[in-house]
């Protein structure tokens, strides 16, 4: 395995990790602060991608599509919160799973009705097209670098929001002990709504950014949702820092596993067995990682303070 291939795969892993972080950030806050399991969070990511397609079709400009898609994703998230989710905060986890499962079915199908079942595409914007020469013989698409940069920017912004602002302080307090925050006179419902809308927008942003490099299709959020759950469980529920580190970890493990598992297995077993076992093992790696983390550290690697 050459060094260039290795570096490219590391960058790919980072890029997947960044997208995962954008989705997982909202999920972990909603879960940590409101104790609400939102299976429909992946749908927000899919909606982001479809909104990018729609607004790109209307305006012909990717920048305009991003600027229009973000507030729309926020509004759709808030609409879902008002219509369905806020009635579920007091219910047990199973009721939440069931209801949000229903929401997934509805939105996946609604998307199919509006845009059709065939995969759609958004072209990569001209400014960000082409590849950048990182070193001799190593070219990497500018757009993917842009995703990494944008994601790191959002992560920085989030870190400031959570650690440096009053709302962030309330969110952190809420993740540690929501009833206490409520008892101290904070309107926890409004805090929930802010967190929820913000999380929906982040997931939407991930969808918008992914639209030019992945095919936009119904159900694209479901796979990512499971990965995002893996991320927040590994990182520790309610912890933004944990979500960030775990997202990068999962992104890297998954990407590197898929590229190199077969090669590594060839060192251990016969080549034909390795081509069989390799891909299966690669797909399993993150789940093995999660099972291990859960078994040895049930609260995750970086738990939000105070919670066992």
């Amino acid at each position: 395995m050459s060094t260039t291939l290795f570096i490219v795969q590391i960058l790919n892993g980072l890029q997947l990790g960044i997208l995962l972080f954008l989705v997982a950030a909202g999920l972990t806050l909603v879960f940590g602060v409101m104790d609400f399991i939102n299976l429909a969070h992946g749908v927000q990511y899919m909606l982001g991608a479809y909104l990018a397609v729609a607004f790109f079709g209307l305006t012909g400009s990717f920048a305009a599509a991003v600027l229009l898609a973000l507030p729309t994703a926020l509004l759709l998230g808030l609409l879902l919160e008002v219509l369905v989710f806020r009635h579920l905060y007091d219910r047990d986890h199973l009721d939440q799973v069931l209801a949000t499962f229903g929401v997934i079915l509805f939105i996946n199908e609604a998307v199919k009705i509006i845009w059709g079942a065939a995969p759609l595409n958004v072209p990569i914007p001209d400014v960000l097209s082409g590849s950048l020469r990182l070193m001799d013989g190593l070219f990497y698409p500018v757009y993917r670098l842009a995703i990494i940069a944008a994601g790191l920017g959002v992560a920085g912004l989030l870190a400031w929001l959570v650690n440096g602002t009053r709302v962030g302080m309330l969110v952190r307090a809420g993740a540690t002990n929501a009833p206490m925050v409520s008892a101290l006179g904070v309107d926890i419902r409004r805090l929930f709504m802010v967190v929820f809308g913000f999380g929906a927008m982040l997931a939407g942003f991930a969808g918008v950014m992914a639209a030019p490099i992945l095919s936009v299709e119904p159900g694209m959020g479901d796979t990512l949702l499971i990965l995002a759950f893996v991320v927040i469980v590994i990182g520790g529920i309610g912890s933004i820092r944990g979500a960030f580190l775990a997202a990068l970890l999962v992104g890297l493990v998954d990407t590197l596993g898929r590229s190199f598992a077969t090669d590594v297995m060839k060192l251990l077993v016969s080549p034909s067995a390795a081509t069989n076992v390799g891909p299966a093992l690669a797909s399993m790696l993150i789940y093995i990682l999660m099972a291990g983390v859960l078994f040895f550290r049930p609260a995750g690697l970086f738990p939000a303070g105070g919670k066992a």
Partner: protein, 329 residues
């Protein structure tokens, strides 16, 4: 205090049986037994195969209810057992063993073994961690099935025919197959009822309410949980064997996490912790799916909101509705 609990677990309940609690299962099983007679006037094979399919998923749902409703173990990887049972049937058939009893035995043994190993790890976690760790094991089984290239890989495996019973092709007949599935459903239901009613089942429910106290009283909490988990896995494996025989096809899709989600939906829809609720849930879920998908192409636009409404307004699922809206359990 603790002595009271130990006493309560040890002595069987002597309260008179609520006639309604007995009536619902009787009506359900009578209806299922009589369905073929009614079907004789209509589209027979369609009704029979739909009925068999519903009952197969009802078996899986019952087994999930045993651990979910009575043990508060929310398994998000229960479809793995369905898949393991199905693959046991498919692989044996591909290797030339087509006896149903051997196939079912292998299916039950394989899923029991998988449940024993993964359960041993899983039951040590609680709450959300349990949900996610069972999901992780389910996904591992899913990817292993995808990599079985000798047995169809991700395309799935078509079976040459249905299993034979004592060398006879009895299961080929849709009516016979229907009653075999009904017998399996009745057997699974009675077994789970017996488990729940036994001292073991009361201990399981007591652990659901307060595991710390049960451990303090001297019960081996983890062993009781593990035994329940293995029983549930074995029953689900049986339903997987039946599913493979009905469709004569085995696919990794049987183990996809969405399937596990659907099984949970069936149990909650029917009302968890009542066993017969799991049957009702499977019937309601699959019949709704069938009816709506005949009526329109995009039936999920109706089905999804319906689920949300059920959660918001019908507490305790269908059995809760039958019992007059009171929350079950």
């Amino acid at each position: 205090m603790s002595a009271d609990i130990a006493q309560a677990v040890r002595t069987p309940l002597r309260r008179p049986l609520d006639p309604r609690a007995l009536a619902v299962p009787l009506v359900v099983f009578a209806a299922l037994a009589l369905l073929p007679a009614a079907a004789a006037f209509g589209a027979t094979s369609y009704v029979l195969s739909l009925g068999a399919r519903v009952m197969i998923f009802a078996i899986a749902a019952i087994s999930l209810d045993l651990i979910l409703g009575y043990g508060a173990m929310v398994s998000f990887g229960h479809a793995a057992y369905l898949g393991i049972g199905a693959y046991a049937a498919g692989i044996l058939m591909a290797e030339g063993v087509d006896d149903a009893l051997l196939g079912a035995g292998a299916a039950i043994a394989a899923s029991g073994l998988f449940a024993l190993v993964t359960g041993y790890v899983s039951i040590r976690t609680k709450g959300v961690a349990f949900i996610m760790i069972t999901l992780a094991f389910g996904q591992m089984a899913y990817f292993v099935a995808n990599s079985l290239s000798e047995y169809g890989g991700s395309d799935g495996l078509t079976m040459a025919s249905r299993s034979t019973l004592l060398g006879l092709k009895l299961l080929k007949n849709d009516l016979t197959f229907y009653y075999v599935v009904l017998a399996c459903l009745a057997g699974s239901y009675l077994l789970c009822r017996a488990v729940v009613a036994a001292r073991f089942g009361r201990a399981l429910r007591a652990i659901r309410e307060n595991p710390v106290r049960m451990a303090a009283v001297g019960y081996d909490v983890e062993r009781i949980r593990l035994v329940a988990y293995v029983i549930a896995g074995m029953i689900a494996g049986l339903s997987g064997f039946l599913l493979a025989n009905q469709t004569e096809f085995v696919s990794p899709a049987y183990m996809a996490w969405q399937r596990s989600g659907e099984l949970i939906v069936m149990v909650i829809l029917g009302g968890m912790g009542s066993l017969v609720g799991a049957i009702l849930g499977a019937v309601a879920f699959l019949m709704l799916e069938e009816t709506l998908s005949h009526l329109m192409e995009h039936w999920k636009v109706v089905f999804g909101p319906l689920l949300v409404l059920v959660v918001l307004f019908v507490r305790g699922g269908l059995t809760g509705l039958l019992a007059g809206g009171k929350r079950h359990g």
